[in-house]
């Protein structure tokens, strides 16, 4: 399979990465090189094979329902580009 320029733009938008028109052909070439490389997987017979979900066979541990985190609003916003009164600020989102 290979991608066309429109697909490159669609993927870039899905990934929220601005891509200039001049970058598209280059990206398209790189993505197609990668897709060509992974293409060889299609020759593997995977019939009846379970996809790997966890590398180590073990039960997932669970946490008891206790409140032992939070109350660190200063830390939460410490690295934020824009805040006011512990709120994060973003350009207005029109819903």
């Amino acid at each position: 399979m290979s991608v066309d320029a429109a697909t490159v733009r669609r993927i870039a938008h899905l990934a929220r990465i601005a891509v200039g028109d001049d970058e598209v052909p280059h990206l398209q070439g790189e993505l197609n090189a990668m897709l060509a490389f992974v293409e060889q997987l299609s020759e593997v017979n995977v019939e009846g094979v379970e996809p790997m979900t966890s590398v180590t066979p073990m039960q997932m541990k669970k946490r008891p329902d206790v409140v032992n985190d939070g109350e660190i609003a200063d830390d939460i916003v410490a690295n934020a580009p824009a805040t006011e009164g512990h709120f994060f600020l973003v350009p207005k989102v029109v819903e």
Partner: protein, 492 residues
């Protein structure tokens, strides 16, 4: 489901039927969040109930809250649903400022709960069964405030990461009444289970409603989704509006476009939010930070054994044990609090078998009636279950008459106090002393010879005599005694 149970809509070209399915988001009752130890408490200063995990700081990892798993399984059991001993958490990827990770941890292909069903009762003793497709656990996003600045949105992640159960119904609902009754019933079950507080005003229970229309029994139409309904009344309006909107379009030769809509309660109409060309591509895949969620059947069995009695079971028991009418039993079990109140009254009664039904009447007619009139709910009742049980006891044992009991109820409502002591202190006791009543009966027969003569031919006139005797005794004479006495004196 028979066609008779639901309403069809008359269009210009004939009848139309609605097909409705619902996705309910119910906030799980737990102290801490689904994947972090931050508090789930409502409100709070911005970003205080937020951990580094909730804010998706680099290198943070989710750890699942066992209580949320228990609650989901308990809910599944309450919906008579299949519990999946192995389920998988997936990432639903999309960018939005209220979603710090850039993905919501949810369950996609393998949810924790599979198919189940809910029995939904309608007016007039009708009922429908609505199928549940699945229930899965997922994270609530944060909250955005748009009214604080003309150019900026403010974000608070206090709610972010709180556990939600998304309960997806099958498209089994056929009109607004059924839809409202389904949500009401589901909410009641969740509240009985204690797995969600059902507080719709706080958004702790909200519904996305999928509506389409078709010719009765015909092929399915294209659906529109009305997002985030958090009022049952508005939901009814929104469905009605949406169905009519779709019918108009189709009858005008147009086609329905699949889209997401919102309901504007002020205008009473649904409005388009985003259309299909902007549809998301969520790129679901199993969350590699979390192993599959697995537990044994013994875990499920343990939870099942400890489940509280749910409304359907409770209703059946009330009918069987106390002879309540199905309607009365439904009224009592509709809300967990009223059922609990009635059960407490039952527990305090001296003779439950004898007076259980009378107690139900008192709870429904006197207490609920009075509460409704004053716009109060059962948790704020001035008459306690003990007081009401005492009043019913007094009637049942023959100490007071039903009429006096109403006066007594009023005194207890207004002033409080021990009903038995009040009856004693205020001389409200029923007179059962034969000689005292006999005198009154004799006097009245003597004063009305013509009526006494009539009554031998028209036994129904006995009622007039009973009334007279009761009146002159100030309601305190025991009606049964009066009845018996009159019959023997009048020779009938």
């Amino acid at each position: 489901m028979s066609v008779a149970t639901h309403k069809l809509i008359k269009g210009a070209t004939g009848d139309w039927e609605m097909v409705i399915g619902m996705e309910i988001h119910a906030q799980v009752t737990s102290k801490s969040k689904l994947f972090s130890g931050a508090s789930t408490e409502f409100g709070g200063e911005p970003n205080t109930h937020v951990s580094l995990v909730d804010a998706a700081m680099p290198g943070m990892l989710p750890v699942i809250n066992e209580e949320c798993v228990r609650q989901a399984v308990r809910t599944g059991l309450g919906l008579n649903a299949r519990i999946n001993l192995r389920s998988v958490f997936d990432r639903k990827n999309y960018f939005y400022p209220d979603l710090p990770q850039g993905y919501q941890i949810s369950q996609y292909k393998s949810p924790i709960v599979g198919e189940g069903e809910v029995l939904v009762e309608l007016e007039g003793g009708r009922s429908v069964t609505v199928g549940v497709e699945r229930l899965h656990l997922e994270q609530d996003p944060g909250k955005m405030l748009h009214d604080r600045s003309p150019s900026l949105s403010f974000i608070d992640f206090n709610r972010c990461g709180v556990a939600l159960m998304e309960i997806v119904s099958k498209p089994d609902i056929r009109d607004a009444e059924q839809a409202k009754a389904y949500v009401t019933k589901l909410r009641s079950i969740l509240r009985y289970l204690g797995t969600c507080d059902g507080d719709m005003e706080k958004g702790n229970l909200r519904a996305d409603v999928n509506v389409s229309v078709r010719r009765p029994g015909g092929p399915l139409g294209t659906r529109c989704e009305i997002k985030n309904m958090n009022s049952i009344a508005f939901m009814g309006q929104a469905i009605e509006y949406e169905a009519r909107r779709q019918i108009e379009i189709i009858e005008d030769g147009g086609a329905i476009e699949q889209e997401t809509r919102r309901f504007d309660p002020n205008k009473g109409e649904t409005q388009s939010m985003r259309s299909k060309e902007e549809a998301h591509d969520y790129r679901y895949f199993p969350d590699p930070d979390l192993l599959p969620l697995e537990f044994g059947q013994d875990f499920v069995d343990g939870l099942k054994a400890a489940l509280p009695e749910l409304p359907d079971q409770k209703k059946a028991r009330f009918i069987a044990a106390f002879g309540l009418s199905p309607y009365d039993a439904s009224v009592l079990v509709a809300e967990r609090e009223s059922a609990e109140f009635y059960e407490t009254v039952l527990a305090k009664l001296a003779d439950r078998a004898r007076d259980g039904k009378m107690a139900a009447n008192w709870v429904i007619n006197e207490l609920f009636g009075r509460l409704n009139k004053e716009g109060r709910d059962i948790t704020g009742s001035p008459v306690t279950a003990s007081q009401l049980a005492a009043i019913v006891d007094l009637i049942g044992e023959g100490t007071i008459s039903g009429k006096i009991a109403k006066d007594l109820f009023e005194i207890v409502w207004q002033e409080g106090g021990d009903p038995r002591a009040l009856v004693e202190a205020r001389g409200m006791k029923q007179v059962t002393d034969l000689s005292a009543i006999e005198k009154v009966v004799d006097d009245i027969i003597a004063a009305n010879p013509d009526k006494a003569a009539q009554v031998r031919d028209k036994p129904q006139a006995l009622g007039w005599f009973v009334g007279q005797v009761m009146k002159s005794s100030g309601g305190k004479a025991n009606p049964q005694v009066v009845n018996d006495l009159l019959k023997s004196k009048l020779g009938i």
